[in-house]
């Protein structure tokens, strides 16, 4: 039984088609990396799964229910966006919003809810700075708190949209390990949008590669090959394995040389 099921999903804005006929199943505990250059609809796919965007064709269900009906909790870890330095909000409060921030009224946390917040904080190793104002924490610490916020409500699936952007390598590793541990322990599948597959390469089960006009899904060894990417881009693309890293050379648009050199860009 798959957690997320997508059939013939298509998205077009006016005459521009981002993707079409996208079908895939996401099994419990699976980690799916969504790769591809900018503007191919990676973030739009996440927005569809969150129920914030309607697909132009096809349908997608999360545990049998269209995302927009919000039958199930979906954990969402966005790009790191720095909090205002003076914001009167502790890490603990941020995580709590993931539990009941959408409910009306002032609300009080009962003992059980309090325990869930605490255990989410411990799970991501943020207990030590849970009472500090979020705006004064480092980017990596803030991102750990966002992971805790996504986990606290016990989601059926976790959607992470470029969660490693502007983090240093140690914190990138930390965030990936947290999501990896969760999907192994609780069987929560993870959809991980990234322009660089290398930080997740060691743990990823399958890759969905969105190229302009075409897409491919499969294991990293199936998709991240010169043959597959050349077919997707319709031009000669080389995929090199350098030690444990994947390097893609020769994508049509230089801006989209996305697997190499992003440490320099960010």
């Amino acid at each position: 039984m798959s957690v997320v099921s997508s059939q013939g999903l298509g998205l077009a804005f006016r005459e521009r088609t981002l993707f079409a006929g996208l079908s895939f199943e996401l099994a419990p505990g699976e980690l799916l990396a969504v790769l591809g250059p900018n503007g191919t609809g990676k973030t739009s796919l996440i927005r569809i799964l969150l129920g914030l965007l309607e697909p132009s064709a096809g349908r997608v269900v999360v545990e049998g229910c269209p995302p927009r009906e919000r039958c199930h909790r979906i954990g969402y870890v966005p790009q790191q966006r720095v909090f205002d330095r003076d914001l009167a909000l502790r890490g603990r409060d941020l995580v709590r919003l993931g539990l009941d921030g959408h409910r009306w009224g002032f609300g009080r946390l009962d003992g059980a809810a309090q325990a869930r917040v605490d255990s989410a904080l411990t799970e991501v190793g943020a207990a030590a700075y849970a009472d500090a104002p979020v705006g004064r924490l480092s980017g990596g610490e803030q991102q750990r708190l966002r992971v805790a916020q996504a986990l606290v409500a016990d989601p059926v699936v976790i959607l992470a949209d470029e969660p490693l952007l502007s983090l240093d390598l140690a914190h990138q590793r930390g965030v990936v390990d947290l999501l990896d541990a969760r999907r192994r322990a609780a069987g929560t599948p993870v959809v991980f949008v990234t322009h660089d597959v290398n930080p997740v390469l060691h743990t990823v089960d399958r890759v969905l590669y969105l190229a302009p006009d075409r897409w491919a899904i499969g294991t990293p060894d199936e998709v991240l090959t010169s043959e597959t990417l050349s077919r997707l881009y319709g031009t000669e693309v080389d995929v090199l394995r350098v030690r444990d890293r994947v390097v893609v050379v020769g994508t049509p648009d230089d801006q989209h040389v996305h697997h190499v050199g992003e440490e320099l860009d960010h």
């Binding site: 919000r70 009167a88 959408h102 700075y129 610490e141």
Partner: protein
């Protein structure tokens, strides 16, 4: 003289009106500051002035015109629900046009200029019993509104993207907070005048968030600072015949400077005591 004045009924009325306005301003200020809406507060109060001037020309109650003006602009800005620079410029554009109309209304108005001056700079000691009752009713509406919206309002203020993903209706909340802010502004104008609404809505909350990272404590501190400023300002103006709004803005500004000093000093102590390790809240 001070004690004699303190026994006067109009002084009691002023103190009560000031207290209600301070509580409401202090509460909503926390959200206004978290959402970066200072400029919008200014626009709402200036356009409340336009509404009041329009009401004077038509021979209506200026307070009603003021509430109408602020609500209309709050509705427009709330529906636009813009973010960042776009909101900044759009607010400026609406503000400039509205003030232009206000200037026209003022030149058309044939009555006493004092009424307009009172609105510009506030006239807390002139609050009547009926006005106090209205201030209390509007204040209760605003507080009830914020209590009902508290959690999603906080969520959408600090983390709009994730809040939207969790089904929080961002646009409806934006309209909601703008309408509540418009009502608050119309209240605060009666105490400190159009030009100084920010001293009650922004300054106390900005000071409070320098002092604590806890949302509820920030809320209480903000209310406390607003209360001390307003009541202190009214009492001081009994002693010395300078404008009440001068005293109010001076006290709240002093609180803000003090809060920054406390915060700076705390940061300095931490930097001194945590060397090494360098970071204060570092992970393992």
């Amino acid at each position: 003289m001070f004690t004699e004045l303190l026994a006067q009924h109009f002084v009691h009325t002023a103190l009560w009106a000031g207290a209600v306005v301070a509580v409401v301003s202090g509460v909503i200020g926390v959200f206004v500051v978290a959402r970066g809406m200072s400029f919008a507060v200014h626009a709402l109060s200036e356009l409340g002035f336009t509404g009041a001037a329009g009401a004077l020309v038509l021979g209506l109650d200026p307070v009603l015109g003021m509430i109408g003006g602020s609500l209309l602009v709050g509705l427009v800005l709330g529906f636009l629900s813009l973010r960042g620079r776009e909101r900044d410029s759009a607010t400026g554009v609406v503000l400039a046009f509205g003030l232009g109309i206000g200037v026209l209304f003022l030149s058309l108005y044939q009555g006493y200029a004092t009424e307009a001056t009172n609105l510009l700079f506030g006239s807390i000691v002139g609050v009547s019993d009926a006005q106090l009752r209205n201030i209390a009713i509007v204040g209760a509406v605003v507080l009830a509104g914020i209590a009902a919206l508290y959690r999603p309002l906080l969520f959408s203020s600090v983390d709009p993207e994730i809040a939207a993903a969790r089904g929080v209706p961002l646009r409806a909340l934006s309209v909601g907070i703008f309408l509540l802010l418009a009502l608050t502004t119309a209240e605060a104008i009666q105490v400190v005048g159009f030009l100084l609404v920010i001293t009650l809505v922004i300054t106390p909350a900005a000071a409070a968030q320098r002092l604590t990272g806890r949302p509820t404590i920030a809320l209480l501190l903000s209310v406390g600072i607003a209360l001390v400023s307003t009541e202190g300002g009214i009492l001081l103006s009994l002693e010395k015949p300078w404008p009440t709004s001068f005293f109010i803005s001076t006290i709240s500004f002093t609180a803000y400077v003090a809060a920054r000093l406390v915060d700076w000093n705390r940061g300095r102590e931490k930097r001194l005591s945590s060397r090494p390790p360098r970071r204060v809240w570092a992970v393992r």
